[in-house]
């Protein structure tokens, strides 16, 4: 493993050890998706499989972005982020390490949601390999979205509030509960500009083997593009922020 990757791994590992029990993570990253899943199950136990891709996608989005908000904005508030900046580590490696920790947390939460639906609600997975790939890439895309949001703010609550500004509209615009095709054209255009759309589309095909607007591998490719773009924008803002007076 290269030096930079090793440093990113240590940063991610420390974040996971230190922050997985922080209250915003439990409430926004874990409780909210579970509440949604149970609500849908109780309303229509037979129809849970149809909304499962959306629920898994939403779980990934909320848990990953919540972790990303914590690992950046909380450490900024207590000055601990500066500890990383003082170490011989590239800014790119620091942000990647932070994203890696958030993505790993989101992946674990998505896995819990999936297992819950497989073993309790009887969901069957059609394409495990593309499911794994779409989950991993979705986690990175959402982690870098969360990082992008939190590098621009100073407080944890600001990061969580700003995250919700993006997260809640995505639930309605990205095909989580309603097909995008049934929405007005303007909302469809907005939906196609958001990463959750491609995440849910790839997950739908991987889990249910039907539906989907694009080829699932194209969805994964677009999500990779989102990850790269969000990471580079976050890096540029992070670099600018480090040059401001303390």
């Amino acid at each position: 493993m290269g030096k930079g990757l090793r440093q990113a791994y240590y940063i991610a590992r420390k974040d996971l050890r230190a922050y997985y029990l922080k209250p915003p993570l439990i409430s926004w990253g874990l409780m909210l998706p579970i509440v949604f899943i149970l609500s849908f199950y109780l309303k229509n136990p037979q129809g849970i499989s149809e909304v499962s891709p959306g629920l898994v996608g939403m779980t990934t989005l909320f848990s990953t972005t919540s972790m990303a908000a914590i690992v950046i904005s909380f450490e900024k508030r207590i000055d601990a982020l500066e500890r990383l900046l003082m170490a011989p580590i590239q800014l790119r490696t620091i942000l990647f390490g932070k994203g890696l920790g958030a993505a790993a947390f989101g992946f674990a939460m998505a896995l819990i949601a999936l297992l819950l639906m497989v073993f309790i609600f009887g969901l069957r997975v059609s394409h495990p390999f593309s499911l794994f790939a779409s989950l991993v890439i979705s986690c990175f895309a959402f982690a870098f979205l969360g990082i992008l949001i939190s590098v621009g703010v100073r407080e944890v609550f600001e990061a969580m509030t700003l995250s919700n500004f993006f997260r809640f509209p995505m639930i309605f615009l990205c095909g989580v509960f309603y097909p995008i095709s049934s929405m007005p054209i303007v909302l469809q255009v907005i939906g196609f500009c958001l990463p959750l759309t491609y995440s849910v589309d790839a997950l739908r095909q991987s889990l249910l083997s039907h539906g989907g607007m694009l080829n699932r591998w194209l969805d994964i490719l677009i999500l990779s593009g989102f990850s790269l773009m969000l990471f580079e924008i976050a890096l540029a803002i992070f670099h600018k922020r480090t040059q401001e007076p303390n």
Binding site: K3, R6, Q7, Y10, I11, K14, R17, A18, Y19, R77, I78, D79, A80, E82, R83, L84, L85, M86, A87, P88, I89, Q90, T242, Q243, E244, P245, N246
Partner: protein, 327 residues
């Protein structure tokens, strides 16, 4: 500039909007010395340290740290230095041991050395019995010691300390000064910033006095004191104490400068002894009684006041403490 300096700075400037934080700084630090940056809050000390450790890019000028250009080789420069920021910013959720192991990981120490190096430092900083205690439960003094220990995991030749004793009680501050002196004995070059004149006098081999982003003078504390030796210093304890007193005293012939230091009035002048009667008469006319009076040997504080014109009281003001920051 000394070409052999382990830290070499030339023409270093940095501006934040309308504020010129540092203005064409030139200095060098010799290997193995304790070099102090002394100045009031807002003088540009922290900005300088942040540039030297690669956190900030200067607008102009150059800085070489251990032979590495901090602008072009920041990662190499960071590998050779340890940094103790003003706030004790280790990870509150991690134990003392885990914080040090994490630092070893970030600085690329071999895995087999992580635990051993951490235990060695915990022993050295008298924290071994608290190795499993979380950082958030430590006292300010313990946090400070652990933060210094964390900066030393990779055995750097240069240690940057930003306001090392700010916010500490007297005993902790004294203990920490002992730690810094020990580091010098081990050959570590120490660059420290402080707004505490006494601290600079106690610790530093050389001191750079910085005010409003500019270095006024660089010399040993002894030489700085010597430079004001020809000045007589008279310290009067007046009652009542009035902020207007220094101004009124400076109007008297023979009094070059007057300043309030806590509840004492200090008068400086080349021929102060010839003005004693006028001083007494003026105080009497102002309705001020004298509780005590003494002549003083010049201290670094006197030299600072004379050289910078900055009131020593200004130097005693600590920076506001950030919420959740320093501990």
């Amino acid at each position: 500039m000394d070409k052999n300096g382990i830290i070499r700075v030339q023409g270093l400037s940095k501006r934040f909007g309308e504020i010129q934080a540092v203005d064409h700084l030139d200095f060098s630090v010799k290997e193995g010395e304790i070099f102090g940056f002394l100045g009031p809050n807002g003088a540009g000390k922290t900005t300088t340290i942040r540039i030297l450790v690669g956190l900030l890019r200067p607008d102009s000028g150059m800085a070489l740290v251990n032979g590495y250009d901090v602008l072009n080789e920041p990662v190499r420069a960071k590998e050779s230095v340890g940094v103790v920021p003003e706030s004790s910013n280790l990870y509150s959720e991690l134990s003392a041991m885990d914080n040090l192991i994490y630092m070893s990981q970030l600085y690329g120490l071999p895995k087999k050395n992580w635990r051993g190096r951490a235990e060695e430092l915990l022993q050295e900083f008298n924290l071994l019995d608290r190795k499993d205690g979380k950082f958030q439960g430590f006292s300010r003094g313990m946090k400070r010691r652990l933060t210094i220990a964390a900066a030393l995991v990779h055995r750097p030749g240069i240690l940057f300390l930003d306001e090392p004793t700010t916010g500490l009680d007297v005993m902790s501050a004294r203990g920490l000064r002992g730690v810094i002196k020990n580091l010098k004995k081990k050959g570590v070059t120490v660059f420290l910033t402080t707004h505490l004149i006494q601290e600079a006098e106690d610790l530093c081999d050389r001191v750079a006095i910085i005010v409003k982003g500019k270095i006024r003078i660089i010399d040993t504390p002894e030489a700085l004191k010597e430079s004001v030796r020809e000045t007589e210093v008279l310290e009067i304890r007046p009652t009542p104490v009035s902020q207007a007193l220094p101004g009124k005293m400076e109007a008297l012939p023979g009094v070059d400068k007057a300043a309030l230091v806590e509840d004492r009035l200090r008068l400086y002048g080349k021929s102060l002894h010839g003005s004693v009667c006028q001083i007494f008469n003026r105080l009497d006319a102002e309705g001020v009684s004298i509780l005590s009076i003494q002549t003083l040997t010049p201290t670094l504080e006197d030299a600072f006041v004379k050289l910078t014109g900055v009131d020593a009281e200004v130097m005693r003001v600590d920076k506001p403490v950030k919420m959740g920051g320093p501990g």
